[in-house]
């Protein structure tokens, strides 16, 4: 005989009880492992999606402008390329909108990824568009086909795509009218939403709407022959390349000046003139060019268009003025006065005219010259003319350095036309002002500047977010040709936006997800786990209680407590080990069930049904280990609690707490319940003045207080055995006996009632947090900020719909324009990025940014969770905090103030520090920008976005033009008409509208779905808990078998005793549910009446009814034990 054999024999002998304990262990382990597998599945599915949508694409370069597609071939031709990569493909990637030609109104799909590609693209992965047919064919994926209700090839669609403009639209020379191109195409093929069919560089689980057209066709349409804006590089296999290879591609990239948007030419007196196709050289590019030029002498210049150079009433129309510090020597100078003397550099407020202009105006030194010009930035499509006066300091001869037309960068439609009268000017241009002499000047000198100011003066007047320089004039080294110079000039392409990104590695990193679904489902499954562990405790304890005599004899023959605990623990461990293994298997099923839930009932939580079951060995092992540890811990705790029972009592078949004498109770048990009720009333009354969430929380707290009071009251009654007489005259004797029976063990009964009450309270009371925001009327201090509509467009809108001119420019009809007069809209700047809202499960790496204009900031509004406001003005309107200067961080890095939604900060970006927390982003040039949170919005329509002051956004992202995000104030009754007007007129821009309610509802749907999942799994736990209640009842019956036998001996029928036991159980169940529901009603009802909550009352009622019925059915186990108890043996105590 050995301990091991004794354990083995006990395992076999008590197999029924061990099976029951094992069931609890298996359920707990299954839920633990299942929750971990849900996390695995989420990460695995996101990872699979990433690999699917990218195929073998490992790195991608997407530029702001266009470059020669030959760059792609040059990369692939690098000797080392094949060692790490396999293919490369050039592409044009644009955001477009596509309209189905059928239907009225026609169906339109916005935010379509338009991919111009050739056969090389399809080599990058499976399920690509294949060979694209030129002409008017377009291949679309199934998602786009579904959106446009296109059943098959042959249907015509209207494609709207952005114009490829070099000069930013927000600058006076930028095109504001023809920003959209259109093409009518025929769908030639529909490809499935898999592989490259769902290609996209942004990480999102939603299926992108993709359209594929031949690269050559798109180049032609955009007038960018032989050019692309993206290079996609495939790795040698499906895996992501390691970080070490990131430096390889930039090393092999050899862009020419034109690929960087530059022009380098020999000009004037023999200097190398560097100009930009965007007219202004942006700050980052200028800095990099100055670095690349090295120690060569460089002279920057800024040339600007003056609408007029005037002296009193005489004026010269449309002339260029150059800001430059006159150099005395070649090649940058000299600038000579009429006497042939070099003109000294100009000072502040001074101007020099060339001889032609001076003569034309009749100007002489000392005269006041007025320049009229457009402000350098033209937001909302409005070019504003302004002027400045100068003292004429000098007149320069129109020769040598001053007769240099290269001061003016090439501007298509302006500098390349034969006469001024033929200018295709994107600004208000009055050709009538052009005189013959002006045309003659143009014929002879082209855009040679007629006036000069100092560089400092020019930059003060005309520099903007687009730059402060138009020319970098470089002195050549002796005999150096411009080709040699351009070849040696090797600026970092990243400074010009040519930057490779390890898209696959980034995508896989983002696949870690924002929401830890394993933790989430562990939390959701809390009640199931708790119920399973309760079952383990109850059943295990039931088992050892039934074996009390055996344990007693072991004690009597000399086994010490420790040895007996070890023996029973070993038995429990064996049961737990085996059952946990089975539980892991069940865990796969539980995970599959949860995934099925996420693909159907809880779809709103994940937006699209993409989840597949993934199971990692680590999760299975952790699930097993945790399940085993938790369950064995529970078993050991149960044994430990029972260790003090004396051997003599064990021999009598008793455990320590089987019968509790009614006794004196502490005074607090008398005053605490009414105190708690009073507290609940006080909380309820004070909650009226609180905000929405705080009110829900307050009512929840009030409900919890009532629950605690109810449970204390029940406990007190039970401990006093104040359950009425066990025997009394009249009917209902059995019920009275049942009531007394339920009070037999007050601690156990209170615990049972408490567990059911608190669980049902939590399940029902969380309904208070179900939000129905579709009904939320526009209100300034709410999550909708008082706006009725939100509109977003694919292409920037450059005119202001608030003004008559703007509406006219945008082509609103007269009727629509009248309708819009009663509305007010705020256009926000948009820097595209990842969706960081709860609708995107990927970890956002580059969240979208919005720039809010000054009038929006002054308007204020929205609900705030927290802000860094200090002054009364800031407290009244925390948006003002965005205007504060960027204060340096501890390491001296300036921190740009940012506002974002609290949910985005907490759950997507994990900025748990809240206000004051910093977050780094990268600009288009790869430079880091540090943002500091100054305000957190509550349940707002801005979920998923980082919000900066418009000026700050443009400072860091100067190429963002126009506005793509609009908030519209209007009468909610007219919202439908207003939305229709916007959609109708601005459809060309890929604009779509939604009500703020719809937008908020799409966000709150995620929260509501999580709550539903919590409630459903809580109900499952409660259901399991009713079996625990039955186990408690079974313990009661077994403990009372002699009493029950006595009742039978006294003439009670078996069935009557069965009824009595059933009623005892029903009383506990009903008391628990009643306490829980009463308290929950208090928590939910005020919120429901206020109309803010949307409790799923029917499903909850159904759940609780099922729980009641299953609980009663489970108690039949105890009834069965009662009915089967042998009378005589029980009476003899056997």
């Amino acid at each position: 005989m050995s301990s091991l054999r004794l354990v083995f024999l006990s395992l076999i002998h008590y197999s029924r009880n061990n099976l029951a304990v094992g069931f609890g262990v298996a359920v707990a382990t299954a839920v633990l492992a299942g929750a971990l597998l849900v996390g695995d599945s989420m990460r695995g599915s996101l990872r699979s999606l990433t690999l699917d949508r990218l195929g073998r694409i490992d790195q991608a370069l997407v530029a702001e402008g266009f470059f020669r597609e030959i760059l792609c071939d040059q990369l692939a031709a690098a000797e080392e390329f094949p060692r790490t990569f396999s293919e490369s493909a050039p592409a044009i990637l644009l955001s477009a909108s596509i309209e189905s030609a059928r239907g009225e109104p026609p169906l339109r799909a916005n935010r379509v990824n338009l991919i111009g590609c050739d056969d090389r693209f399809s080599q990058l992965g499976p399920s690509g568009p294949g060979q694209l047919v030129g002409g008017s064919g377009i291949t679309i994926n199934q998602a786009l086909a579904d959106a446009l209700e296109i059943a098959g090839p042959g249907q015509e669609v209207l494609l709207r795509l952005p114009n490829a403009a070099s000069i930013p639209s927000d600058s006076p020379l930028g095109n504001k009218e023809e920003t959209i191109r259109r093409a009518r195409l025929t769908v030639s093929r529909i490809i499935p939403n898999e592989g490259l069919g769902r290609f996209g560089l942004r990480a999102s689980q939603s299926v992108p709407k993709n359209a594929f057209v031949p690269l050559g066709w798109l180049q032609e349409r955009l007038e960018q022959p032989g050019k692309a804006n993206a290079i996609l590089i495939a790795g040698r296999d499906d895996s992501a390349s390691p970080a070490e290879v990131d430096a390889l591609l930039p090393g092999w990239l050899r862009p020419a000046a034109e690929d960087l948007g530059l022009s380098i030419a020999v000009a004037g007196e023999g200097y190398f003139n560097i100009t930009s196709q965007r007219m202004m050289i942006d700050a980052a590019a200028e800095q990099e060019l100055l670095r690349a030029v090295g120690d060569r002498p460089v002279q920057p210049a800024l040339t600007y268009l003056a609408n007029a150079i005037a002296l009193e009433k005489r004026e010269i129309p449309y002339s260029t003025v150059t800001a430059i510090d006159f150099a005395p020597n070649r090649p940058f100078g000299p600038f000579l006065d009429p006497s042939g003397q070099p003109v000294a550099p100009l000072g502040q407020g001074e101007i020099a005219l060339n001889a032609w202009a001076a003569e034309d105006l009749g100007a002489k030194p000392g005269d006041t010259i007025r320049l009229r010009y457009f402000e350098p930035e033209s937001p909302d499509g409005q070019v504003r003319e302004t002027s400045a006066e100068f003292r004429l300091a000098a007149i320069v001869k129109l020769e040598g350095a001053a007769a240099d037309p290269h001061f003016t960068p090439e501007v298509r439609g302006v500098t390349d036309v034969p006469s001024i009268g033929e200018w295709d000017a994107p600004f208000p241009f009055d050709a009538r002002k052009i005189r013959k002499k002006d045309e003659a000047y143009w014929d002879e000198h082209r855009a040679t500047p007629k006036a000069f100011v100092s560089l400092a003066t020019g930059r003060r007047l005309w520099s903007s977010r687009f730059g402060r320089t138009t020319n970098l004039r470089v002195e050549p080294r002796g005999g150096e040709t411009v080709e040699a110079f351009a070849g040696r000039l090797d600026p970092d392409p990243a400074a010009f936006g040519l930057r490779f990104q390890p898209v696959k590695r980034m995508g896989l990193a983002a696949a870690a997800g924002t929401t830890p679904f394993n933790v989430l489902f562990l939390a959701f499954s809390f009640f199931v786990i708790a119920a399973a562990l309760m079952l383990v405790v109850l059943l295990f304890r039931l088992g050892i209680e039934q074996r009390a005599e055996s344990i007693g004899i072991l004690r009597a023959v000399g086994l010490d407590r420790g040895r007996i605990i070890r023996l029973l623990a070993a038995e429990g461990l064996a049961v737990a080990a085996l059952a946990a293994a089975a539980g892991v298997g069940l865990g796969l099923g539980y995970a599959a069930l949860m995934l099925a839930g996420l693909k159907t009932w809880w779809l709103a939580a994940v937006v699209t049904p993409f989840l597949q079951l993934h199971a990692s060995a680590a999760s299975l092992a952790i699930g097993y280990g945790c399940g085993l540890a938790v369950c064995f811990g529970t078993i050991f705790w149960t044994l430990w609690r029972a260790r003090r029972t004396s051997a003599s009592r064990l021999l009598g078949g008793e455990f320590a707490d089987q019968y509790v004498q009614p006794g004196r109770q502490a005074a607090w048990t008398r005053w605490l319940p009414p105190a708690l009720v009073a507290a609940a009333v006080a909380i309820g009354l004070s909650a009226r003045s609180l905000s929405e969430d705080a009110r829900a929380g307050a009512f929840f707290a009030a409900g919890a207080a009532v629950l605690a009071a109810g449970l204390l009251w029940v406990r007190r009654r039970l401990r006093h055995q104040a359950t009425g007489p066990a025997v009394a005259a009249g009917r209902g004797g059995l019920l009275r006996l049942a009531l007394r029976g339920a009070a037999r063990n007050p601690a156990r009964s209170t615990l049972s009632i408490g567990l059911i009450a608190s669980t049902s309270f939590l399940i029902v009371a969380t309904s208070a947090f179900h939000l129905d925001l579709t009904r939320l009327a526009p209100r300034l201090d709410s999550g909708n900020g008082g706006f009725a509509l939100v509109a977003e467009s694919d292409q920037p809108i450059l005119h202001d719909p608030n003004t008559g001119d703007g509406r006219f420019a945008l082509a609103f009809s007269e009727a629509d324009s009248r309708l819009l007069q009663s509305t007010r809209s705020f256009g926000l700047r948009v820097k595209s990025g990842d969706d960081a809202s709860c609708l995107n499960l990927y970890q956002p790496l580059e969240p979208r940014m919005l720039g809010v204009p000054e009038d929006f900031r002054r308007r204020g509004g929205f609900a705030w969770t927290a802000s860094a406001a200090r002054t009364p003005e800031e407290k009244a309107n925390p948006w003002l905090l965005l205007e504060k200067p960027a204060e340096p961080d501890a390491d001296g890095t300036p921190c740009v103030p940012v506002v974002l939604d609290n949910n985005t900060a907490m759950y997507a970006l994990h900025l748990y520090g809240g206000v004051g927390e910093t977050y780094d982003i990268t600009d288009d040039r790869g430079r880091t920008i540090r943002l500091r949170i100054v305000g957190l919005l509550k349940n707002s329509i801005f979920q998923g976005d980082l919000i900066l002051a418009e000026e700050r956004l443009l400072e860091h992202f100067p190429l963002v033009s126009g506005r793509r995000f609009f908030l519209i104030e209007c009468d909610p009754q007219k919202a439908g008409d207003v939305a229709a007007a916007w959609n109708r007129t601005l459809g060309d821009f890929g604009l779509g509208t939604e009500t703020t309610g719809e937008r908020l509802a799409s966000f709150s749907a995620v929260q509501n779905t999580y709550l539903s999942a919590f409630q459903s799994l809580g109900a499952l736990g409660l259901l399991l808990g009713t079996f625990g209640l039955a186990a408690v009842q079974l313990r009661n019956v077994l403990e009372r078998r002699r009493e029950l036998a006595l009742l039978r001996a006294a003439g009670f029928r078996r069935a009557a005793l069965g009824w009595m036991v059933l009623m005892e159980n029903a009383l506990l169940l009903a008391a628990g549910l009643a306490c829980g529901l009463l308290a929950a009603a208090l928590a939910v009802l005020p919120h429901l009446l206020a109309g803010a909550a949307a409790a799923p009352i029917r499903s909850l009622a159904a759940m609780l009814l099922v729980i009641l019925l299953v609980g009663l059915l489970a108690s039949l186990l105890a009834v069965r034990a009662t009915l089967r108890a042998p009378l005589v043996a029980a009476l003899r105590g056997e």
Partner: protein, 225 residues
């Protein structure tokens, strides 16, 4: 010097009112090879006294010394070792482990002694032969009669060569004939093992066969003829 000395032992149980005094100033002693019957009406404290002698419970006051050791001074672990080495129990209800065979039930106390040795198995077989169950070694308790179960319990009580065997109504659940056989067996084995036997019984027949008889009444113990 006596091998069992009980000196002025009192046992009380706390209640909501005054403590319930079960035993009052119990004193007696017993030498090896001697046996003693304790008789008395129901509720007189006989089983409580037996539990105190067997170190299953501790006295409120007074001392019990067995083989020179006072178990009240020992730790829980040492009390278990003390019980295992020095005391054998026979209860009215046999308390056999239903999952174990007859032989295994007899060997259960050896587990507490650090493991079963071959000599333990030989002794168990020998004891079971002596109690007439040599042919039932592999039977389970459920397959035995009441007398056979009680004889198995007697063999279990003797497996560790105890100095004191305590029997609580050992024949209480048995018919007359079986009770006589069990009584014979108890006395025979006590004679053979030269240990002390104290039996608590209602049975006058069994009490008469013991060398000494003491009566417990209202918590007080007195020698009877």
């Amino acid at each position: 010097m006596s091998d069992l000395i009980v000196d002025n032992v009192t046992k009380e149980y706390p209640t909501r009112s005054d403590p319930l005094v079960v035993l009052r100033g119990i004193s007696f002693d017993l030498q090896s090879g001697r046996n003693l019957a304790i008789v008395g009406p129901s509720g007189s404290g006989k089983t409580t006294l037996l539990n105190l002698l067997g170190a299953l419970e501790s006295a409120t006051s007074g001392t019990i010394r067995l083989d020179g050791q006072n178990p009240a001074t020992l730790s829980d672990k040492d009390v278990s070792v003390f019980r295992n080495h020095k005391i054998g129990f026979v209860f009215q209800e046999h308390h056999l482990l239903p999952q174990c065979s007859v032989l295994e039930n007899v060997l259960i106390p050896t587990i507490a002694g650090g493991g079963t040795k071959p000599s333990d198995i030989d002794r168990a077989r020998g004891l079971l032969d002596r109690v007439g169950l040599g042919d039932r070694l592999d039977h389970r308790p459920a397959e035995l009669s009441g007398g056979q179960r009680q004889r198995t319990a007697i063999a279990r009580a003797l497996i560790r060569l105890p100095v004191l065997v305590l029997a609580d109504e050992p024949t209480g659940n048995l018919d007359q004939s079986t009770a006589a056989q069990v009584a014979d067996l108890l006395l025979e084995l006590q004679e053979a093992e030269r240990n002390m036997l104290i039996t608590v019984t209602h049975s006058a027949a069994l009490a008469r066969r013991m060398q000494r008889r003491m009566e417990l009444d209202d918590g007080r113990l007195r020698e009877v003829a």
